[in-house]
């Protein structure tokens, strides 16, 4: 038994090591959104989006601070955080999902669907997001774009400003992952 014990621990530590190799992190993920109307175009970018990708479970988790979106004008930033998103109450937006049929080993770019739940302004919606995955020697890069409907997230826009803000917001994302060592 005493002879087996070190072997046992070795096996555990090895399994543990493998577990960690399956996780990848992006601390500086990029998310931009665009609202195009006849009155004005609004664009904002967040460069500090956090994401963890687990290639064994094929799961992805994303979290971002709403106040970290940068706008061209202060007034847009204020309206977004104070009136629409209410960042004091809902400081973050989150997403959790699974990449369907993700081929971890291929070096070719692959286009897959991420099926998951997105939470903005305290409202959670199911969503399918198309993404292009590139594997650069184990450093994964996920990019894509999708649309969200403002009304789905109970965001109240005063009638006087409703012509300034699009009903559908276009979102772009770009995550560059590196191995996650905890």
């Amino acid at each position: 038994m005493n002879k087996l014990l070190p072997l046992f621990f070795l096996a555990i530590s090895f399994a543990d090591f493998n577990e960690k190799q399956n996780q990848f992190i992006a601390r500086q993920g990029q998310i931009s959104f665009f609202s195009y109307t006849n009155v004005e175009n609004i664009e904002a970018k967040n460069n500090q989006v956090l994401s963890i990708l687990d290639i064994e479970k094929q799961e992805i988790a994303i979290s971002m601070l709403m106040r970290a979106f940068v706008f061209k004008k202060d007034l847009m930033y204020e309206h977004f955080n104070e009136s629409y998103i209410e960042s004091d109450i809902y400081p973050k937006a989150n997403f959790e999902g699974k990449i369907i049929d993700f081929d971890v080993n291929t070096k070719e770019p692959q286009t897959k669907i991420i099926r998951g739940k997105i939470t903005i302004h305290g409202i959670t919606k199911e969503i399918d997001i198309k993404t292009t995955i590139k594997n650069n020697n184990g450093n994964y890069n996920l990019t894509g774009e999708f649309n969200l409907i403002v009304n789905d997230f109970e965001i109240k826009i005063p009638p006087i400003l409703s012509s300034n803000i699009a009903k559908t917001i276009a979102i772009q994302f770009n995550f560059k992952y590196e191995p996650y060592e905890e």
């Binding site: 601390r27 500086q28 990029q30 460069n47 500090q48 956090l50 979290s63 971002m64 601070l65 106040r67 970290a68 940068v70 706008f71 061209k72 004008k73 202060d74 007034l75 930033y77 400081p91 973050k92 770009n174 560059k176 060592e181 905890e182």
Partner: protein, 135 residues
């Protein structure tokens, strides 16, 4: 009346303080001064309380450089905390570019930026760098 409108227009479009992305913090006073370890500890112990204390404020944070990155054409300095995996992510104002060459890993620096909150790291935006004078 027309003159007034034009004047307002000129002020609105030319005033740099209405332009959030490039607001210069160099000449603004920090509301609080603390070190990177304290800041990260505070957020990981009690995020709600720390949001109340720090989020939205101009902070002056002292710490050692873990990493400098240029991802997505941005200058980012990550400061060490007492934790192995997370620290303070400082998004550096492009006008600080010339100071970057003088920095190296493990160096102790002071940054001033607007605290946006906490994910795994504390996030500071629009940071200026305060280089220590030679002692």
């Amino acid at each position: 009346m027309l003159f007034l409108l034009i004047l307002i227009g000129v002020v609105y479009f030319s005033n740099p303080f209405l332009n959030s992305s490039n607001k210069n913090l160099e000449n603004e006073l920090a509301e609080l001064s603390l070190n990177a370890g304290e800041l990260v500890n505070s957020y990981s112990n009690n995020e709600d309380k720390s949001n109340y204390l720090y989020t939205g404020k101009i902070l002056e944070v002292t710490g050692t450089i873990k990493e400098i990155t240029f991802l997505n054409d941005r200058i980012t300095i990550i400061l060490n905390s007492n934790f192995e995996t997370f620290g303070v992510i400082c998004d550096i104002n492009p006008n600080q570019k010339r100071k970057i060459d003088q920095l190296k890993e493990h160096q102790k620096i002071k940054v001033k930026g607007i605290c946006k909150g906490f994910l795994k790291d504390v996030i500071l935006l629009n940071c200026t760098i305060d280089l220590p004078t030679n002692e």
